[in-house]
């Protein structure tokens, strides 16, 4: 079976996020107020060939942790998505 999986990668708490901070600083000048705690992250989408949902997620999680994120600074998790 083919499953569509999304892996979310976010910076770990406490790790500096200059990209998020820069966006947040730029907002008022563009007329956006009331937006705070901006964080920039990545998301990877792909198809996984697996026996079951569980197996697909397992494979994706392993990929997420071994390759798609750097555990020193990032958290990663996999979920099933809809195309």
């Amino acid at each position: 079976m083919n499953y569509f999986v999304i892996v979310d990668v976010t910076l770990r708490r406490g790790i500096a996020d200059p990209e998020g901070a820069t966006i947040e600083r730029a907002l008022p000048a563009l007329g956006f107020t009331g937006v705070t705690n901006v964080h920039a992250g990545k998301a990877f989408r792909f198809d996984v060939e697996a026996e079951s949902e569980g197996a697909a997620l397992e494979k994706a999680t392993s990929l997420a942790q071994r390759l798609l994120s750097n555990p020193v600074i990032e958290d990663a998790s996999a979920r099933l998505g809809e195309r």
Binding site: A26, L27, P28, A29, L30
Partner: protein, 758 residues
């Protein structure tokens, strides 16, 4: 909204007359695929149909010119068995809608032009033009373009060593992004994009083909796409699908192609740029006088359901076409596999046919399968070289006399000269710090000086002590007032920049960025500008080895100011020590080298200067171009500095040409980078602070008597301006600013403007 459907040929950007010509060429009605091929190949962008007959005015010959205009890049013989290839191109319209990718793919395209000649790309330069930094959109454009050049150029591994940065409202919705690339190769290895040898294979290298930039060529280059409100209002039909660059693919493609050439595995090679596969196949076939069969089904695709016309005209990036003999296929395939570059045979060279008048004609045939049905069949040269040429109507703008008469030269100074001077200082370091300017260990003078200077060295090149110098220059303010003199002066200024690093100019490339050629005023500007370039190049004995024309640059219905950009390549015969640059020392004498007064009726003309423009005064006259006078001063400086580069002792400690902003700005820049002040004499006239005319240099020497004697010998005028030292820049009674203020205002100007926009 949509009017009655127009005939296909018009939708493809072809006029009724052009359709008739196509019918004549084919002796029948073209089918729709054939029309699409003509549509892209006969677009302004590919065919230069509005400018080509005028470009013939430019001088292109010189003993050292190995390849002149018309090839992928111009090539000169730089000596010691090394040839240098150079090329400049624009990526204006794509950058207006996706600044990062537009600029990035501009870099990718220019690199391919250069390694197509067999040259390893050694340096990129990026003349950039934006609107004034007054709104967030300009900031988005500036940051996007600069990071696009940085993101692609750094990653692909070619240093970006200089450029230009101009802000003017005429570019606010139509920024200009020009990119120049220079490369080097052993002279004996020069290759051209020629297909020859019936039975040879056409091999597509690199990326797969998607729907990127389908019809982008004709749509972008043959019709404006700005709404009258100045906003970019693309309807979906016209929206060019933007191309995304992949510098990693390009890097591997460069290495693979250079290795293919080293191993002599290719007969000819050609990059895929505007108009994609159709352009590359018809040009190589036309140059070789042969025919070519292309199997449209063989081309690796990235998307499903692509039509033959989409496949043939797609502008997907990072692709090359190599012509090889069938015996070499296995070796080519293995070499490409090593670099993880895809290689696919997509066609082969066939005999030309004989037409009914007995002429031999190479046909480009698009087939559905290797021996499949013929989907299109047209003479290759009719696509590549035989677009109709237009001598479009020209007219000197009616209001130009009034504009010339509105001269700021006699304006009373208002405000304080100190503030005027400080307001003109801007350090482009924020831009060039984002570029790797040092890769390959050749960069003796990087960005931030008058010209860049590189050791002429690289993997695979014969050993040489020579250096090459590069400068790009433009002055749209001059060219708006007088495109002929303005362009001539721009060339002179660029040659002067080269002299500051000890180089003698050897070749020119140019990128002519103009408005809508259907406006007679724009055609007048274009032809005048070409005249001016021809004039200056003849006077200074400089061949033009290549160029690019970008038309339809309009902002909100207004044409941009005429913006010819020149790129100059110079050579330093012996480069063992760095040139002195702007680094003057305490106690040095400061001198002005070159004529103190401008040629023409005005001693210190202020028309078109940064000073006048800043005050909203855009009228006036520009100085006259006096080739002989300029050439003498320039040659003197080039000789003085080249001796230092060759390792000789010299009393000259610093040199800087007087460019944008005039004499006071040149002095202030030297103060800013050294942190040393200067005491300068009272000038003749307040206009002398800010007047701009080339052929003048600020130099510093620790032996004024000896220096003056050498200048006198050559008849080059020298004025002693003052002495280096103190904690301020003082010019007579007029200017007095602290060194710290000069440095910090210059350093912070660009960041401050960007930051003020959120």
């Amino acid at each position: 909204m949509r009017s009655a459907p127009q005939p296909l040929h018009r939708a493809l950007g072809l006029t009724d007359t052009e359709l008739d010509i196509i019918r004549d060429v084919l002796g029948r009605e073209p089918n729709s695929l054939e029309l699409a091929l003509y549509g892209v190949m006969w677009s302004e962008h590919c065919s230069y149909k509005s400018s080509r007959m005028h470009l013939r005015r430019l001088p292109t010959h010189g003993a050292h010119v190995l390849v002149g205009p018309g090839e992928n890049a111009g090539v000169i013989d730089a000596g010691d068995g090394i040839a240098v290839a150079i090329r400049i191109e624009s990526h204006n319209h794509p950058s207006a809608i996706e600044p990062y990718q537009g600029a990035a793919t501009g870099v990718g395209g220019i690199l391919r032009d250069v390694f197509t000649m067999g040259a390893r790309p050694l340096a990129v330069m990026d003349p950039l033009f934006f609107g004034e930094l007054t709104d967030a959109r300009q900031r988005w454009l500036v940051e996007g373009v600069v990071s696009g050049i940085s993101g692609y150029g750094n990653s692909v591994g070619v240093p970006t060593i200089g450029g230009e940065l101009t802000f003017d409202d005429c570019y606010s919705s139509n920024p200009l992004v020009n990119v120049l690339c220079c490369g080097a190769l052993p002279t004996e290895r020069l290759v051209l994009g020629v297909a020859s040898g019936v039975g040879n294979l056409a091999v597509l290298l690199g990326s797969s083909t998607g729907r990127d930039g389908i019809g982008g060529v004709s749509v972008l280059a043959s019709a404006g796409f700005q709404g009258s409100d100045g906003a970019v209002s693309l309807d979906d039909a016209k929206r060019p699908s933007v191309q995304v660059g992949d510098p990693y693919e390009e890097k591997r493609l460069i290495e693979a192609c250079l290795e293919l050439l080293d191993e002599r595995l290719v007969v000819g090679i050609q990059d895929l740029g505007g108009a994609g596969i159709v352009c590359a196949t018809c040009e190589t076939a036309a140059r070789g006088g042969v025919g070519m069969d292309v199997d449209v089904t063989a081309i690796p695709l990235r998307e499903e359901g692509m039509q033959p016309y989409e496949i043939m005209t797609s502008e997907s990036q990072e692709r090359m076409l190599a012509i090889i003999t069938p015996e070499n296929w296995d070796l080519v395939a293995a070499l490409c596999a090593k670099w993880e570059v895809r290689a696919t045979v997509i066609g082969h060279v066939v005999e030309p046919v004989t037409d009914d008048q007995g002429r031999s004609v190479g046909m480009l045939r698009i087939r559905d399968g290797f021996d499949g049905e013929i989907l299109a069949q047209v003479p290759a040269s009719s696509l590549a070289d035989e677009a109709p040429l237009y001598d479009r109507p020209r007219r000197r703008p009616d209001d130009l006399d009034a504009i010339n008469a509105d001269d700021p030269t006699d304006d009373e100074p208002v405000g304080t000269p100190n503030d005027d001077l400080l307001g003109l200082l801007i350090d482009p370091a924020w831009v060039y710090r984002q570029y790797d300017s040092q890769l390959f260990l050749n960069t003796v003078v990087g960005p931030g000086s008058d010209a860049a200077l590189l050791r002429l060295a690289g993997p695979g090149l014969p050993i040489s002590e020579r250096g090459i110098a590069l400068s790009t220059d433009s002055n749209p303010r001059w060219c708006a007032l007088d495109p002929r003199a303005g362009t001539a002066l721009t060339v002179a200024e660029s040659v002067a920049n080269l002299a500051c690093v000890g180089a003698t100019a050897k070749a020119v490339v140019n990128c002519l960025n103009f408005g809508n050629p259907e406006h007679p005023e724009v055609m007048w500007q274009l032809t005048e500008s070409i005249e001016g370039m021809a004039l200056a190049c003849s006077a200074l004995d400089l061949p033009v080895v290549g160029g690019n024309v970008s038309l339809y640059n309009e902002s909100g219905g207004h044409d941009i100011d005429p913006t010819p950009v020149v790129g100059l390549l110079g050579v330093v015969d012996s480069l063992v020590a760095p040139p002195p640059g702007w680094q003057w020392c305490e106690g040095d004498a400061v001198v002005l080298v070159g004529t103190r007064h401008a040629s023409g009726p005005q001693k210190f003309p202020l028309g078109g200067t940064r000073w006048a423009t800043k005050r909203g005064r855009r009228g006036g006259r520009v100085p006259e171009f006096e080739g002989e006078v300029l050439a003498k001063a320039i040659a003197f400086v080039a000789r003085e500095i080249s001796q230092i580069c060759a390792g000789a002792a010299s009393d000259v400690t610093a040199v800087h040409d007087v460019g944008g902003g005039g004499l006071s700005v040149a002095l202030a820049e030297m103060v800013a980078v050294t942190g040393l002040g200067a005491q300068i004499i009272e000038l003749e006239h307040h206009g002398e602070l800010f007047a701009e005319f080339p052929g003048r240099f600020v130099m510093a020497t620790n032996d004024l008597v000896a220096f003056r004697a050498r200048a006198d010998e050559t008849g080059v005028p020298v004025v002693a301006l003052g002495i280096v030292g103190g904690d301020a820049l003082r010019i007579g009674e007029t200017i007095d600013v602290a060194v710290g203020e000069v440095s910090s205002r210059r350093r912070g100007a660009l960041e401050a403007s960007l930051a003020s926009l959120g």
